[in-house]
Symmetry: C2
Subunit: 458 residues, 2 copies
Amino acid sequence: MPVMTTVSIAQAIRERDKAALTSALGALSGFEIAELMANRIEEDQAFIFQALPPALAAETFEYLSLRSQKKVLHALSTKALADILEAMAPDDRTALLQELPDAIVDEYLKLLPGQERSLAITLLGYPKDSVGRLMTPDYLAVKMNWTVERVLQHIRAYGHDSETINVIYVVDDHDRLIDDINIKDLLFVPPAYTVSQITDRKFVALSVNDKAEKAILLFKEYDRVALPVVDEQGTLRGIVTVDDILRLASEKNTANVQRIGGTEALDEPYMQTPFLHLMKKRARWLILLFLGEMFTATAMGFFEGEIAKAVVLALFLPLIISSGGNAGSQSSTLIIRALALGELKIGDWFRILRREISSGLFLGCVLGVIGFARVTIWSSVSSIYGAHWLLIAITILLALIGVVFWGSTAGAMLPLILKRYGVDPAVASAPLVATLVDVTGIVIYFLIALVVLRGTLL
Amino acid sequence: MPVMTTVSIAQAIRERDKAALTSALGALSGFEIAELMANRIEEDQAFIFQALPPALAAETFEYLSLRSQKKVLHALSTKALADILEAMAPDDRTALLQELPDAIVDEYLKLLPGQERSLAITLLGYPKDSVGRLMTPDYLAVKMNWTVERVLQHIRAYGHDSETINVIYVVDDHDRLIDDINIKDLLFVPPAYTVSQITDRKFVALSVNDKAEKAILLFKEYDRVALPVVDEQGTLRGIVTVDDILRLASEKNTANVQRIGGTEALDEPYMQTPFLHLMKKRARWLILLFLGEMFTATAMGFFEGEIAKAVVLALFLPLIISSGGNAGSQSSTLIIRALALGELKIGDWFRILRREISSGLFLGCVLGVIGFARVTIWSSVSSIYGAHWLLIAITILLALIGVVFWGSTAGAMLPLILKRYGVDPAVASAPLVATLVDVTGIVIYFLIALVVLRGTLL
């Protein structure tokens, strides 16, 4: 964007010069205008938005964050609001409406003309996070007996309203999907050919009730620009396009990364999330983890006598429990990701368990040996671990094997158990697993110490 | 896939009946065949692959994991190898070759005919992880003075080899990019129109040296099926298609999730990664974290005397240091993700620091008050914390504020510092931040205890 334009836009906003702003914004794309609006106060956002011609307004609206969308809608006149809602693509409208409170949705639905309203109601009727909520009914459908010529005419007549013309769908008289044809195939054959001559009746379709994740997987597998969506009867209901899938995949990934890092997923960029909202999202998790971690104090309480007798045990406590937590974070993260990508299923639990048992023992031995070496070497140069250094070294070795083994298996099983009970496995974040492993790690450590050090230090 | 087919395929493989296998596989897509190969031993994989007709073999090959690709290549005859390499799309070929050792790449390049070879060498010449490595030169380019009729003829003649015909590129006589036109625009105008009548000279392009991440961001922002790639002179060099971007985004996200969970990114599915390979990836991180965490034992050593005098301090140690670690994991994850999405830049460090200082103090107070309440309430029902319970409660309160504050700010700054020095910020995984915060958390906790408890317990 040239500097001149930015300056004149800024000036037009400051001086509330609507005509100048309208003409200056005409040179920008919806995305650029949305970027421009993002860093401005609410009044400016509303002013900019109202200066846009309807088509550009609808395009810009789709790039605004959900929070900005709500604010802009709030500031619009009923008439302008109705225009925007009607101009929005049905899938983008569903995405917006599903985030609003029911009372407002009802109010907004009343603003839509009859056909658009019943369409919006139908789309909102599909389960949350289903393909039905993602799809748009703006596609091109043709019949088997049409000629290629007629199909091209049909594209010219109705293609403007379609989300994509790269794929055309072939349906029967009951709107049941028979095939999809690529526009490429139409251009390579004589116009007198009929559709039936270029179809192969092989197609990949989503179902309205499929989970959104399934759509992401199918798009990755089949390299498609768009996929058709059918209902239980095989009737074509809409299409999902790859641009929506790319954005959805990115949102889901952000949410996953944030949850694995131990925070609730933010709906908005870090800097745009209001402070108290951010605190609420972060505090909920931190408090939950804190309450879980409180059991460490309880567990430690049981071994207070042992600590008093052998303070040296306390010195290695953070090292040992954190090793268990780290091993657990690793395995839970690997399993969560593999579940999300469809590489693993709940039914694989036994194979996973077997693998993590070996992994845990192997990794535990590796860390155990390093820990053993550390105590041994330090004992040879200082007397910090006293006369019983060898027994302490053995305690450390065995405790590390036990804790890392427990962390790996528990960390791997937790996401599977969560999924089994219908909870999103990504809840098993690194900090949550670490917390669970900390408490049991303390018990494992002190029990091993009780056995090894009995009669000497304890 | 019907059961019958699976049975007969399995049988044909077992009996090494190549003709039967070839005919049975003909009904499947490349993706389905790749799925079928994934769970089989190496000899079966090679046998299946050799039974495929060349076109289907090239399609299947693109869906194989990198490990399977290497194995299959290894098992092929030189002739078959040359056919596959030549049939591969240039971008997929680059993706494969860049993972192979140089000696093998040289050998493979010799198998390609002259033009394909120099193309492959050019593409491999672009920096690793750049757009140049992602692009394919199979696009359609037209001139300004061409009629729409001529463009459509051009599409019919050359469209088969193009990755996409949804977007056509307009170039000048020096192959410099002037515009992109959607196939839609061609179908909506009379055939006698010239290209210059439908161009708006507005386009979005990538540069060959752009980072792959930039391509992902641009695709998300502009909802495109394909984006053109130009060099420094503005010459059109290739295109990147959205299907490759979706797959790349998913791979990058998997790597990020795994790193935030504290493990090196796996190149392959969890179950397909060989055990020792998995152990190497996991052990490296665990050992690194373990070595870092060893400083906790050192730090604890300094306060051995204090622990001996007031064992009660040890009881709360895991609770306090893990709270700092959790707060740190949260902020590092939020910042890493925001950096990856381009929401934040290094230059924003001061705004981030300010935000995390307030966040850390706020969250520290919340946890501190809960910790204080816990000690107070337990003291009223038991005598576990002795006569000085109030001083202990104050120590816990202040230590939590200090540790959570430190964790939040350090966790947020670490990814920025890493990025500043050219290291991938995702290295600041939840476990790494927790480890760093653990060591300092111990020091903060005991120093506060020394001040608050001086003259009483210490």
